[in-house]
Amino acid sequence: MIFASGIAPHWRTQHTVPVMMRQVIYSLLPGITAYIWFFGIGVAVNCLIAAVVAALTEASALLIRGRPVKLFLSDYSAIVTAILLALCLPVVTPWWVTASGSFFAIAVAKHLYGGLGFNVFNPAMAGYVAIMVSFPEYMTHWTAPNIGDIDYQPLSALATLQYIFTGVLPDSLTIDAISRATPLDTVKTELGMMLTMGEIRANPLFGDLGGRGWEWINSAYALGGFWLLFRGIIRWHVPVALLGSLLVMAGAGYIIDPATHPGAGFHVFSGGTLLCAFFIATDPVTCTTTNTGRLIYGAGIGILIFMIRTWGSYADGVAFAILLMNMTVPLIDRYTRPKVYGRPPTGKEQRSHG
């Protein structure tokens, strides 16, 4: 009998890149569902716009670069980038803002650096920062959650669609009328106006931990994150280090001065903290590779998030924290190498002979 040939090893993992990316998308679904429940279908529309633009951009970039289009398109990495970007944007963001962000993320932050596996900066965060500084006004049009007992009439689904695609609102409304500050925005502005945390938290927008609605969405993200941990798609080091350092810093701030620091629960359950901890910071391409390195990386992001929120001028520092720590990844990788078998444990880089 004749047999086929192959090279060892003959067994490989079932966790291929498309499988990993699909699992990430599935574990984002609880969060997206909660988001739609509280804020309407705008987020789903944004995800769709971003995903379509991302896929087209990726296909074009691959064609221009002469790379196999089907192989790289079918690994879903562009879709994941697009969804993560869309989840950071306000619900009523115009379609062309979302599209620009998605285009920048894929074409500039990913393919100009070499494509999958070669980018230094997280593409979703790079895209977010690009539209944040280019179209700052549109990035402040956050809406309030649909929780019934505040003085707010949410936009209907049709009106949301109409505004996203045409920029036209129903007759009686202006964009200022439907925009509200996010909980993080509120905290920042009102602390600046010298109110105490007690007074700020009396606002009906605030729930037990974070903002109302937002804390449910973040909990759903955490649920998805635990699913990824359980399946072994991500490892615990980055989320634990990130949340741990943020808890320590926020807790310390709260203990030192509870009137001007919102406290650990608020920090963890508002803004994009949990999305970042489980989905964005754990992006394998832009993260460090060794476990020690991951602990340092996660801790750095947590500290930077706290610093930017407390002392910086942006309400939520997640995107900038990620990009700043992305810059340090090669350095961290260089200095957190484990000891090779058979070499004595020293602090310096070892050579086999002098």
Binding site: M20, L71, V285, T289
Partner: protein, 514 residues
């Protein structure tokens, strides 16, 4: 070593569980159901002449000659220069039909000279090896000579001359017998330990005598409880308290030589050194059993246990098969193929070699033959770029960073490869197994190692040439200094207090004299 008891570390009730390694499905139950089958001698055998690592061998029989089972038919050269080269023996009795080039199992489909013997149906034994005497009374040198005479080489797959390995050892603290069969599918060592543990223990005694080692430890994995009991009973029966048993975690690749030393003894073999240098010698349990068989029964190495398994074979089992049996005949013997299969792998699924057909002979290195159907293999996928997930870094048993090694090897960056420790790679395939991008890491590292070693030997030659150059430069300098000194002495001897003018006057006055 466990500091409290001063015994191998794995005596602790909780064997150390390393961070490295993987736990693939073991697929061993199929071939463990039936006892070892003693295969009847086949009608003909094709025995490759070179079955010792690193040395060439010559046939000592001629076509047409009649040989008995166990008669020497080839002699290999010495490995180190001081050890006796191992012999090769006829595995059946009959007539030597010829010495021909045949395809042999290996990484490439190459042809090697083989001795072909046709059976005469009688299986008469060569009786010169019976009654050799009590090996525990012989001196070490004699034991090694007899081991080479028996043709015993490392049966874990390496085929290194056992006599050479036993001979060049002094200051050995512990003999480690490696029964930790970590690769999936392979069960030949486990069955050997279940059924013939006494031979393994007896072999340990003989090897301890040859090495001068005070203790032996037989290492097995935690998923071999029957083998564990069998070894315990065998040691009790022999009544030798120098032989110990140790259980290591059932992870792949716990059975690698460096890894087993790390797990059992808690020490690492330093880079560039051998296990002997830290006082340990590792041998496979089957090698020990073969030694016992030779000294106690007069049977040289003419057969070995092979696991035949996989979805494509009718009955999976372990067979004690004569060396040189054609694989197709072996499969027929145990019931034939179950179905058309896509791959025949010699070894395990992690490090095994794909064979082109089943007309190849069983050699001393054949520990397992897996007839795999395509659904038992991972479907091939196109390689994608490294997504830096770091899974390979988690599983490497040598604590290397395969992800960074890949970058360095693609850039041919020799310094980085040195810093990252490429030479410590044991090519186990764990990094390939976990890679989501299906990058052929092990193959890349195997080929890079050649380039790296060429570069390293170039650097060593350069250092050597620099020493010679500097030696020559200093020699020339010294010669020049001596010449200058001599010249100066001559000048000093002549000059004294006279100047040139006085000398000229003296010469002139001398000339003037009548």
């Amino acid at each position: 070593m466990c500091p409290q008891t001063n015994k191998p570390a794995a005596y602790d009730p909780q064997p150390p569980r390393p961070e490295w390694g993987i736990r693939p499905p073991t697929r061993k139950t199929g071939s463990l159901k039936l006892p070892i089958l003693e295969a009847s001698p086949p009608r003909w055998v094709v025995i490759p002449i070179e079955q010792c690592l690193g040395v060439s061998a010559r046939a000592i029989v001629t076509p047409g000659q009649h040989v008995l089972t166990g008669e020497p038919i080839a002699q290999a050269d010495s490995v180190t220069g001081t050890d006796p080269g191992p012999k090769l023996h006829a595995s059946i009795s009959g007539e030597v039909i010829g010495i021909e080039n045949n395809m042999v199992p290996g990484t490439s489909a190459h042809r090697e000279p083989c001795i072909v013997i046709r059976s005469d149906g009688k299986d008469e034994t060569y009786s010169e090896y019976k009654n050799l005497g009590d090996p525990l009374q012989m001196d070490a040198g004699k034991i090694c000579t007899l081991i080479a005479e028996a043709g015993i080489v490392g049966l874990g797959g390496a085929l290194f001359s056992t006599a050479a390995k036993l001979q060049n050892s002094s200051g050995i603290r512990m003999l480690i017998l490696n029964g930790a069969e970590c690769e999936p599918y392979i069960t030949c060592d486990e069955m050997l330990l279940r059924e013939r543990a006494r031979k393994v223990a007896r072999g340990a005694q003989i090897m301890m005598r040859a090495l001068g080692a005070p203790d032996t430890v037989i290492a097995i994995e935690s998923d071999m409880p029957e083998a564990r009991v069998a070894i315990y009973d065998a040691i009790e029966e022999l009544g030798d308290d120098r032989i110990h048993e140790s259980v290591v975690t059932a992870k792949y690749p716990a059975g690698g030589e460096r890894q087993i030393i790390q797990l059992v003894m808690g020490e690492e073999v330093p880079e560039g050194a051998l296990q002997n240098d830290i006082g340990y010698v590792c041998h496979n349990v089957a090698t020990a059993a073969a030694i016992a068989e030779f000294f106690d029964e007069g049977r040289p190495l003419i057969s070995r246990i092979v696991t035949v398994t996989g979805g494509g074979i009718e009955t999976a089992r372990n067979v004690d098969v004569r060396i040189g049996t054609i694989m197709a005949d072996l499969f027929e013997l145990i019931g034939g193929y179950y179905d058309v299969s896509s791959h025949l792998i010699m070894g395990g699924p992690m490090m095994g070699v794909c064979l082109p057909n089943d007309e190849l002979p069983v050699t001393k290195a054949t520990n397992c033959l897996i007839i795999m159907k395509s659904r038992e293999l991972s479907p091939p996928r196109q390689e994608m770029p490294c997504i830096r997930c770091g899974e390979c870094n988690q599983v490497c048993p040598a604590q290397l960073l395969p992800q960074e090694l890949l970058t360095a090897s693609k850039q041919h960056d020799m310094e980085a490869l040195d810093t990252l420790g490429l030479n410590a790679c044991i090519e186990c395939g764990c990094c390939d197994y976990v890679c989501p991008s299906y990058i052929p890491l092990t193959a890349q590292f195997t080929s890079t190692k050649l380039e790296f070693r060429a570069h390293e030997s170039g650097m060593q030659r350069a250092a050597h040439a620099r020493e010679r150059y500097e030696a020559r430069a200093s020699r020339l300098q010294q010669e020049q200094a001596e010449r200058d000194k001599q010249l100066q002495e001559q000048v000093d001897a002549v000059s004294g207090t006279d100047s040139i003018d006085a000398v000229m006057k003296r010469v002139a006055s001398r000339d003037k004299k009548p």
